[in-house]
Symmetry: C6
């Protein structure tokens, strides 16, 4: 099943949401068990540093996606 | 509700503030509960390393936004 | 034995999987023993921050690969 | 009050100092209280890893500023 | 003695190996004593997070080297 | 006193050494006391993760410098 057909999005906001998806997919490839990911999520969504680290990964993917979309100019 | 219509800003300073917004929005997507985010904020805004980590994410978004604006040249 | 002939991929998704491969290969070069890597994996795939850190490395390689493929435009 | 009018600087060294300013401004936006920032500074300026993390953020901003200035060529 | 004459490599794989070399050379400049580096290596090559951090540095150098080689297109 | 006149270097190796200089200068701006920096150095040059973090900053500056030099092509 294909989950990533294109880096093109209609708007910057959709690009941002795609960036979030990409950052989560990398985790999914490493930890495929949804139950374990759920347990981990309980903890990490209440840890400021974990949230910042997640936001960091999103920022890098968003940069890639913004470039792919010519910055939606 | 749309929160990100464009990466274009009038000035570098507005671009910097947009970078801050983007870094916070990624946290918001992961932890949507404003009460929990407020609690986390109490702690992390008094931790030098947490603040540096947040500044790091802003730096990446600012790079993307600067590129999108042709560095405001 | 060659393991990286090209950065070109057919699709963004294959590019993403190549990014995962690159991030793992760097670990393999530093820790060539598969038994030790397996032991480490047990722990790190159940640690949210470790998973985010791994996702971070994938994001950088994906950026490189996306550039190499003209963002699959 | 405007604090960032342009990314242009006369020299690479001024660009470097602007990068330092940008990295500090992101902290200031998150922790606006100068007294708390001073207390945090006491600790973090004597911690090697904190200093490296700060240097890291400067490196990213410096990359952006160098690009904005055509690398001062 | 020269250790880095060019960023050009014949293949992506050689580029990846050069990226590993660059990431190690920066460590060597900071800690020139091979005996201490060996001791540190004992520990860090058995720590998943240390390995991921090392892989992270390789990813950045690989991006630079890939750009220098026109992505080996 | 000027310490950074240009990002241009004759060779990639000199560029690498400039990258090391830049990463140290950012630390120097934050912690100007050479005695404290020396004490910190004692500890951090024997810590594998600190060395990797330092190598990380060098990698980013090296990317900037490589771009500034057209990758020494």
């Amino acid at each position: 099943m294909t989950w990533l057909e294109t880096l093109k999005t209609e708007t910057p906001e959709e690009g941002f949401e795609l960036a979030i998806k990409l950052s989560r997919m990398a985790v999914k490839y490493t930890q495929p068990d949804p139950k374990i990911r759920d347990e981990l999520r309980q903890k990490y969504e209440r840890d400021a540093d974990s949230l910042t680290a997640a936001s960091h990964v999103v920022a890098i993917h968003f940069q890639t996606i913004a470039q792919a979309n010519g910055f939606w100019k």
